[in-house]
Protein backbone atom coordinates (compact mmCIF):
# COMPACT_ATOMS: atom_id res chain seq x y z
CA UNK A 1 0.00 0.00 0.00
CA UNK A 2 1.23 3.47 -0.81
CA UNK A 3 0.20 6.82 0.57
CA UNK A 4 -0.12 8.21 -2.94
CA UNK A 5 -3.52 9.80 -3.53
CA UNK A 6 -3.63 8.13 -6.94
CA UNK A 7 -4.83 4.56 -6.75
CA UNK A 8 -2.93 2.16 -8.98
CA UNK A 9 -5.00 0.04 -11.34
CA UNK A 10 -6.39 -3.09 -9.69
CA UNK A 11 -7.08 -6.21 -11.71
CA UNK A 12 -9.35 -9.14 -10.93
CA UNK A 13 -9.14 -12.33 -12.98
CA UNK A 14 -12.18 -14.36 -11.99
CA UNK A 15 -11.60 -18.12 -11.57
CA UNK A 16 -15.31 -19.04 -11.97
CA UNK A 17 -16.38 -16.85 -14.89
CA UNK A 18 -14.27 -15.91 -17.93
CA UNK A 19 -13.98 -12.23 -17.10
CA UNK A 20 -11.33 -9.66 -16.32
CA UNK A 21 -12.15 -6.66 -14.17
CA UNK A 22 -10.05 -3.52 -13.96
CA UNK A 23 -10.64 -0.87 -11.30
CA UNK A 24 -9.04 2.59 -11.24
CA UNK A 25 -9.80 5.90 -9.54
CA UNK A 26 -9.44 9.31 -11.17
CA UNK A 27 -9.09 12.85 -9.84
CA UNK A 28 -11.99 14.03 -11.98
CA UNK A 29 -15.77 13.88 -11.62
CA UNK A 30 -17.79 11.16 -13.43
CA UNK A 31 -19.06 13.62 -16.09
CA UNK A 32 -15.53 14.31 -17.20
CA UNK A 33 -14.31 10.69 -17.14
CA UNK A 34 -17.46 9.73 -19.03
CA UNK A 35 -16.81 12.41 -21.67
CA UNK A 36 -13.25 11.08 -22.09
CA UNK A 37 -14.89 7.78 -23.12
CA UNK A 38 -17.61 9.15 -25.39
CA UNK A 39 -15.90 12.01 -27.24
CA UNK A 40 -13.81 10.42 -30.03
CA UNK A 41 -11.34 13.33 -30.12
CA UNK A 42 -10.57 12.79 -26.43
CA UNK A 43 -10.88 8.98 -26.46
CA UNK A 44 -8.25 8.57 -29.18
CA UNK A 45 -5.71 10.47 -27.09
CA UNK A 46 -5.50 7.89 -24.34
CA UNK A 47 -6.73 4.50 -25.54
CA UNK A 48 -4.38 1.70 -26.58
CA UNK A 49 -0.77 1.03 -25.64
CA UNK A 50 1.82 3.73 -24.94
CA UNK A 51 3.18 5.31 -28.11
CA UNK A 52 0.37 4.01 -30.35
CA UNK A 53 -1.69 6.30 -32.59
CA UNK A 54 -5.44 5.89 -32.99
CA UNK A 55 -7.34 6.82 -36.11
CA UNK A 56 -11.10 6.86 -35.70
CA UNK A 57 -13.37 5.84 -38.56
CA UNK A 58 -16.70 5.72 -36.70
CA UNK A 59 -17.49 6.61 -33.11
CA UNK A 60 -21.16 6.97 -32.32
CA UNK A 61 -21.23 6.55 -28.56
CA UNK A 62 -24.93 6.29 -27.80
CA UNK A 63 -27.30 3.36 -27.15
CA UNK A 64 -27.47 1.44 -30.45
CA UNK A 65 -24.38 3.14 -31.88
CA UNK A 66 -21.09 1.60 -33.00
CA UNK A 67 -17.40 2.35 -33.34
CA UNK A 68 -14.41 1.36 -35.45
CA UNK A 69 -10.85 2.60 -35.15
CA UNK A 70 -7.33 1.74 -36.18
CA UNK A 71 -4.51 1.54 -33.70
CA UNK A 72 -0.92 1.60 -34.93
CA UNK A 73 2.55 1.63 -33.48
CA UNK A 74 5.78 -0.39 -33.31
CA UNK A 75 5.33 -1.28 -37.00
CA UNK A 76 1.98 -2.89 -36.24
CA UNK A 77 -1.58 -1.83 -37.00
CA UNK A 78 -4.95 -3.32 -36.25
CA UNK A 79 -8.62 -2.46 -36.47
CA UNK A 80 -10.98 -2.62 -33.53
CA UNK A 81 -14.72 -2.32 -33.54
CA UNK A 82 -17.85 -2.92 -31.53
CA UNK A 83 -21.38 -1.83 -30.69
CA UNK A 84 -22.54 0.46 -27.95
CA UNK A 85 -25.35 -1.55 -26.43
CA UNK A 86 -26.30 0.80 -23.61
CA UNK A 87 -24.95 4.26 -22.88
CA UNK A 88 -26.24 6.07 -19.77
CA UNK A 89 -24.66 9.49 -19.22
CA UNK A 90 -22.08 9.65 -16.40
CA UNK A 91 -23.10 6.20 -15.22
CA UNK A 92 -22.47 3.21 -17.51
CA UNK A 93 -21.39 2.13 -20.97
CA UNK A 94 -22.13 -1.43 -22.10
CA UNK A 95 -20.38 -2.25 -25.35
CA UNK A 96 -18.77 -5.03 -27.33
CA UNK A 97 -15.09 -5.00 -28.21
CA UNK A 98 -13.42 -6.90 -31.02
CA UNK A 99 -10.03 -7.08 -32.74
CA UNK A 100 -11.03 -7.62 -36.37
CA UNK A 101 -8.32 -10.20 -37.13
CA UNK A 102 -10.01 -12.50 -34.61
CA UNK A 103 -13.69 -11.94 -35.55
CA UNK A 104 -15.05 -14.54 -33.10
CA UNK A 105 -13.18 -13.05 -30.18
CA UNK A 106 -15.78 -10.57 -28.97
CA UNK A 107 -15.80 -9.32 -25.43
CA UNK A 108 -18.80 -7.79 -23.70
CA UNK A 109 -17.57 -4.80 -21.71
CA UNK A 110 -19.33 -2.98 -18.92
CA UNK A 111 -17.72 0.32 -17.91
CA UNK A 112 -19.09 1.85 -14.73
CA UNK A 113 -18.47 5.42 -13.58
CA UNK A 114 -18.94 5.79 -9.85
CA UNK A 115 -18.91 9.11 -7.99
CA UNK A 116 -16.73 8.61 -4.90
CA UNK A 117 -16.93 12.22 -3.70
CA UNK A 118 -14.37 15.00 -3.67
CA UNK A 119 -14.64 15.34 -7.43
CA UNK A 120 -13.28 11.84 -7.92
CA UNK A 121 -14.46 8.82 -9.91
CA UNK A 122 -14.01 5.08 -9.59
CA UNK A 123 -13.97 3.41 -12.98
CA UNK A 124 -14.76 -0.30 -13.11
CA UNK A 125 -14.29 -1.97 -16.47
CA UNK A 126 -15.41 -5.59 -16.78
CA UNK A 127 -14.71 -7.64 -19.92
CA UNK A 128 -16.56 -10.92 -20.32
CA UNK A 129 -15.80 -13.43 -23.06
CA UNK A 130 -17.41 -16.77 -23.92
CA UNK A 131 -14.63 -19.13 -22.84
CA UNK A 132 -11.70 -19.32 -20.46
CA UNK A 133 -9.45 -19.86 -23.50
CA UNK A 134 -10.75 -16.61 -24.97
CA UNK A 135 -10.29 -14.75 -21.71
CA UNK A 136 -6.76 -16.05 -21.27
CA UNK A 137 -5.83 -15.17 -24.85
CA UNK A 138 -7.24 -11.73 -24.07
CA UNK A 139 -4.94 -11.40 -21.07
CA UNK A 140 -2.00 -12.85 -22.96
CA UNK A 141 -2.34 -10.53 -25.92
CA UNK A 142 -5.18 -8.14 -25.32
CA UNK A 143 -5.00 -5.44 -27.88
CA UNK A 144 -1.94 -4.19 -26.08
CA UNK A 145 0.56 -6.42 -27.79
CA UNK A 146 4.00 -4.93 -28.06
CA UNK A 147 7.48 -6.19 -27.64
CA UNK A 148 8.02 -5.33 -24.03
CA UNK A 149 10.58 -6.30 -21.51
CA UNK A 150 7.95 -8.39 -19.74
CA UNK A 151 7.18 -10.31 -22.89
CA UNK A 152 10.83 -11.14 -23.45
CA UNK A 153 11.17 -12.21 -19.85
CA UNK A 154 8.16 -14.47 -20.27
CA UNK A 155 9.71 -16.10 -23.34
CA UNK A 156 12.78 -16.83 -21.25
CA UNK A 157 10.65 -18.38 -18.52
CA UNK A 158 8.76 -20.54 -21.02
CA UNK A 159 11.98 -21.66 -22.67
CA UNK A 160 13.39 -22.63 -19.29
CA UNK A 161 10.31 -24.56 -18.15
Amino acid sequence: MTTDTKKETQIIVDPEVPLVRIIREFDAPPEKVFRAHTDPEIFKQWTGPNGYENEIETFDCRTGGSYRYKSSGDGWEGWFRGSFHEVRPNSVIIQTFNYEDIPDGVSLDRIEFEDIGGGRTRLTSTSLVDSFEGRDAFIASGMEVGVTEGYLRLDAILAAS
Binding site: P15, A28, P49, N50, R135, D136, Y151, L158
Partner: protein
Protein backbone atom coordinates in the same frame (compact mmCIF):
# COMPACT_ATOMS: atom_id res chain seq x y z
CA UNK B 1 2.17 -12.03 -32.20
CA UNK B 2 0.39 -14.09 -29.58
CA UNK B 3 2.48 -16.94 -28.21
CA UNK B 4 -0.05 -19.75 -28.75
CA UNK B 5 1.79 -22.38 -26.75
CA UNK B 6 1.96 -20.05 -23.78
CA UNK B 7 -1.70 -19.07 -24.13
CA UNK B 8 -2.77 -22.73 -24.31
CA UNK B 9 -0.75 -23.47 -21.24
CA UNK B 10 -2.30 -20.58 -19.35
CA UNK B 11 -5.76 -21.81 -20.41
CA UNK B 12 -5.00 -25.31 -19.12
CA UNK B 13 -4.03 -23.84 -15.78
CA UNK B 14 -7.15 -21.70 -15.55
CA UNK B 15 -9.35 -24.63 -16.59
CA UNK B 16 -7.71 -26.87 -14.00
CA UNK B 17 -8.37 -24.24 -11.34
CA UNK B 18 -12.00 -23.69 -12.37
CA UNK B 19 -13.03 -26.53 -10.03
CA UNK B 20 -13.43 -25.67 -6.30
CA UNK B 21 -12.09 -29.05 -5.07
CA UNK B 22 -8.99 -28.63 -7.20
CA UNK B 23 -8.47 -25.12 -5.87
CA UNK B 24 -8.75 -26.55 -2.37
CA UNK B 25 -6.14 -29.17 -3.19
CA UNK B 26 -3.83 -26.47 -4.53
CA UNK B 27 -4.31 -24.41 -1.35
CA UNK B 28 -3.44 -27.47 0.73
CA UNK B 29 -0.34 -28.18 -1.38
CA UNK B 30 0.83 -24.60 -1.00
CA UNK B 31 1.57 -25.53 2.61
CA UNK B 32 3.72 -28.48 1.56
CA UNK B 33 3.81 -31.77 -0.36
CA UNK B 34 1.17 -34.37 0.53
CA UNK B 35 0.17 -37.89 -0.46
CA UNK B 36 -3.11 -38.72 -2.21
CA UNK B 37 -4.39 -40.30 1.02
CA UNK B 38 -3.61 -37.14 2.97
CA UNK B 39 -5.29 -35.01 0.32
CA UNK B 40 -8.41 -37.20 0.31
CA UNK B 41 -8.97 -36.92 4.06
CA UNK B 42 -10.94 -33.62 4.23
CA UNK B 43 -13.34 -34.61 1.43
CA UNK B 44 -16.38 -36.85 1.30
CA UNK B 45 -14.97 -38.43 -1.83
CA UNK B 46 -12.96 -41.51 -2.70
CA UNK B 47 -9.22 -41.60 -3.24
CA UNK B 48 -10.04 -42.39 -6.89
CA UNK B 49 -11.99 -39.11 -7.22
CA UNK B 50 -9.10 -37.14 -5.75
CA UNK B 51 -6.71 -38.98 -8.06
CA UNK B 52 -8.80 -37.82 -11.02
CA UNK B 53 -8.54 -34.21 -9.85
CA UNK B 54 -4.80 -34.65 -9.42
CA UNK B 55 -4.52 -35.98 -12.97
CA UNK B 56 -6.12 -32.78 -14.31
CA UNK B 57 -3.78 -30.64 -12.20
CA UNK B 58 -0.80 -32.72 -13.30
CA UNK B 59 -1.72 -32.47 -17.01
CA UNK B 60 -1.95 -28.69 -16.65
CA UNK B 61 1.49 -28.65 -15.06
CA UNK B 62 0.12 -27.29 -11.78
CA UNK B 63 1.36 -30.26 -9.72
CA UNK B 64 3.87 -33.03 -10.16
CA UNK B 65 4.28 -36.42 -8.49
CA UNK B 66 7.52 -38.00 -7.57
CA UNK B 67 8.07 -41.31 -9.40
CA UNK B 68 10.75 -42.51 -7.04
CA UNK B 69 9.41 -42.21 -3.51
CA UNK B 70 7.10 -44.97 -2.29
CA UNK B 71 4.54 -42.45 -0.98
CA UNK B 72 4.59 -40.57 -4.28
CA UNK B 73 3.91 -37.19 -2.67
CA UNK B 74 2.20 -34.51 -4.74
CA UNK B 75 4.18 -31.30 -5.24
CA UNK B 76 2.86 -27.89 -6.24
CA UNK B 77 4.70 -26.36 -9.21
CA UNK B 78 4.92 -22.80 -7.93
CA UNK B 79 6.47 -21.38 -11.12
CA UNK B 80 3.19 -22.01 -12.97
CA UNK B 81 1.63 -19.44 -10.69
CA UNK B 82 4.56 -17.10 -11.19
CA UNK B 83 3.86 -17.35 -14.90
CA UNK B 84 0.16 -16.56 -14.43
CA UNK B 85 1.01 -13.73 -12.11
CA UNK B 86 3.41 -12.27 -14.67
CA UNK B 87 0.83 -12.36 -17.48
CA UNK B 88 -1.79 -10.78 -15.27
CA UNK B 89 0.64 -8.17 -13.98
CA UNK B 90 1.66 -7.24 -17.51
CA UNK B 91 -2.01 -6.82 -18.48
CA UNK B 92 -2.59 -4.72 -15.36
CA UNK B 93 0.46 -2.57 -16.09
CA UNK B 94 -0.79 -1.90 -19.62
CA UNK B 95 -4.15 -0.79 -18.22
CA UNK B 96 -2.30 1.43 -15.75
CA UNK B 97 -0.30 3.04 -18.59
CA UNK B 98 -3.51 3.72 -20.49
CA UNK B 99 -5.19 5.23 -17.44
CA UNK B 100 -2.13 7.36 -16.63
CA UNK B 101 -2.58 8.88 -20.08
CA UNK B 102 -6.25 9.39 -19.27
CA UNK B 103 -5.17 11.25 -16.09
CA UNK B 104 -3.17 13.64 -18.27
CA UNK B 105 -6.05 14.05 -20.72
CA UNK B 106 -8.47 14.77 -17.86
CA UNK B 107 -6.16 17.48 -16.51
CA UNK B 108 -6.02 19.10 -19.93
CA UNK B 109 -9.82 19.00 -20.11
CA UNK B 110 -10.07 21.04 -16.87
CA UNK B 111 -7.69 23.64 -18.27
CA UNK B 112 -9.74 24.04 -21.43
CA UNK B 113 -12.92 24.52 -19.44
CA UNK B 114 -11.32 27.20 -17.27
CA UNK B 115 -10.17 29.11 -20.35
CA UNK B 116 -13.66 28.99 -21.81
CA UNK B 117 -15.23 30.51 -18.68
Amino acid sequence: MVDNAATDRLSDVFAALADPTRRDIVTRLARGDATVTELSRPYEVTIQAVSKHLKVLEDAGVVSRSREAQRRPVHLEAEVFDLMTKWIERYRREAEERYSRLDTVLEAMSDTERKEK
